[in-house]
Amino acid sequence: MSIGNEDLLAGARGAPATGPREVASDAASTAAAGPGRRARVVPYLLILPSVVAFVALLGYPLYQVVRISLLKLDLAELIQRTTVFVGLANYRAIFTDPFFWSVTVRTVVFTASCVALTMVLATLLALLLERLGGAMRLALSIALVLAWATPPLTATVVWQWLFDTQFGVVNWVLGAAGFGDFSNHSWFDTGLSTFAIIALIIVWQAIPFVALTLYAGLTAIPRELYEAIRVDGAGAWQTFRSLILPVLRPLFLITTFLSIIWDFKVFTQVFLVRHGGPDRQTITLSLYAYQEGIASSHFGRAAAISMVMVVMLVLALTFYIRYMLRTQEDL
């Protein structure tokens, strides 16, 4: 029942063995399902609870975020339960605020850096996993799963401990390795350095999923193809470009989309490292929405910031969904 590696590769096999499409119309199921009409209602009854849940707990909040973004909703309005429509005033306010733009740009740059780092390092790791011997490969796989499984909260705490100013292992190692004197070097003094640590925490946890997925794809490439391309005189880079890259393209695309979606909206790690500091320099869009809304009680403005996030994510999602629709027939 476990989904084997070979199943991961696009195009490597035809349609799945069990097609859900054909309606069971033989004697057995007709007899069991009773009259045809009742049988036709059954699937709708089965999906009904989840549809209701989606509408109530996702559809309605999504509608609410649009609505709240058009309201003046501060603490006073919230307590008095008054509704003050202000049209696009919240959007006008954030779009004319230079801080909003710097947060948006930094969120995009931060996301792009995290995704690029994740994809490049994960690809290298997948190639490495394929070349390692059995014992070493198993050990590295387990290490990858450890990092992947670590709760983001714990990962954040542990990496801060590793980068601790006074007693952190990293400062000691850098000093011992001859990179100069790092004793009492603080990594959280500047926005850039703090962002680098946050990115490290996120990438450390993001690589394993991508690397293991790509590795599973690699193992499904038939040996003969490697042989054939080697006979043609291709070197390592040529092999990667003309064999591995095209074959793993679907996996590369999917993991890139998913990484973009995950890294863009990340909150926990960014928040817990320095709560957006030093000097508000590591505030990203999700932190900004939290601070404006929950911390400062400007819910209307926070909803408008959230809407910006939603729209940007929908853009990323459109590519992802279009791709899924194209590649997946048994959706």
């Binding site: 029942m1 476990s2 199943d7 991961l8 590769l9 069990t18 859900p20 499409r21 069991a32 036709r40 089965l46 999906i47 609870p49 989840s50 549809v51 849940a53 989606f54 707990l57 309605y60 909040p61 999504l62 070349r131 390692l132 070493m136 490969r137 050990a139 387990i142 290490a143 990858l144 450890l146 990092a147 499984a149 670590t150 709760p151 909260l153 990962a155 542990v158 401990w161 590793l162 601790d164 006074q166 292992v169 000691w172 004793s183 450390w204 293991l212 997925t213 599973a216 999917i254 979606i261 909206k265 926990t268 809304g293 819910f299 959230s306 994510l313 899924m324 629709l325 590649t327 997946q328």
Partner: protein, 276 residues
């Protein structure tokens, strides 16, 4: 020949570097938790937890309200996972066993909500739950974690349902079983391992969640373990021993679960994407 050996050495070297990079932070968390404070606050790292102490664990567990945090986390997580599993099994059977109008649209919706940006829905959830007088109430978190975990659970369970040969049910029905009976006696036992794997993933998602618990729960007695963990740093300043001792038991079940089910789940998120 020697060039090939050089490549071999380089590969293994890369393997060791990667191994240390990914495993060391986790090791360091456990090692720090067991070290006496003097060894933790040392300018030269003590690589092994020798001598060994449990004082940080006992201090962490004896902090006020720990019992509440543990109870709240278990209660919220398990309720959400059970509810999400129940809803998802029904939905997975529908899409895995029936062909009906709207099936494709439904799966598309599940796919989209699986990537829903819950971080961007914090404000409306806050206002909604406030209106329902559910702020600072554990059922609020149950609802939220339920909807967080359901899309993935449906998507993955559908794969498991489709992997069970239809002929098995049909054979049971030829033998006189009704459709519900065929499901209970044939499909359900075969689906159980998939349900366990999927619930573990859902469990981990809910267990780890920080933002919503942090925003929606106000009283210390309503906090979950992630909130408890995050309070260590401010309260204790640089009590790294306590922080690590609190993190270790919080992390351990998750890591163990993951090691057990990850083979099934590596493909879970992308499986649908790359078939056909």
């Amino acid at each position: 020949m020697s060039r090939r050996r050089g490549a071999r050495v380089l590969t293994n070297l890369g393997g060791v570097v990667a191994l240390v990079f990914f495993a060391f932070p986790v090791y360091w968390m456990f090692a720090t938790a067991f070290k006496p404070t003097n060894d933790i606050l040392s300018y030269t790292p003590h690589w092994l937890p020798v001598p060994f102490t449990l004082e940080h664990f006992s201090a962490a567990v004896h902090r006020p309200n720990f019992g509440y945090y543990l109870r709240n986390s278990l209660l919220v997580t398990l309720s959400a996972v059970l509810a999400s599993l129940l809803f998802a099994v029904l939905a997975a059977l529908a899409v895995g066993r029936f062909d009906f109008r709207g099936r494709k649209a439904y799966m598309l919706m599940v796919l989209i909500v699986q990537t829903a940006p819950f971080e961007a829905l914090l404000i409306p959830f806050f206002i909604m739950l406030r209106g329902l007088n559910l702020l600072n109430q554990l059922p609020a978190l149950i609802l939220i974690y339920f909807i967080f975990t359901m899309p993935f659970t449906i998507w993955t369970l559908r794969g498991f349902v489709m992997a069970i040969p239809r002929e098995l049910e049909e054979a049971a029905m030829v033998d006189g079983a009704s459709r519900p009976q065929a499901f209970m006696r044939v499909v359900f036992p075969l689906l159980a391992p998939g349900m366990v794997a999927t619930s573990i993933f859902a469990f981990v998602t809910a267990w780890n969640e920080f933002l919503y618990a942090f925003v929606m729960m106000r009283d210390a007695t309503r906090y979950t373990l992630p909130i408890w963990l995050s309070t260590f740093q401010t309260v204790f300043g640089t009590d790294w021993g306590g922080t690590m001792a609190a993190s270790s038991p919080f992390t351990l079940p998750v890591v163990v679960f993951f090691l057990i089910v990850q083979r099934r789940l590596v493909s879970g998120l992308t499986a649908g994407a790359v078939k056909g």
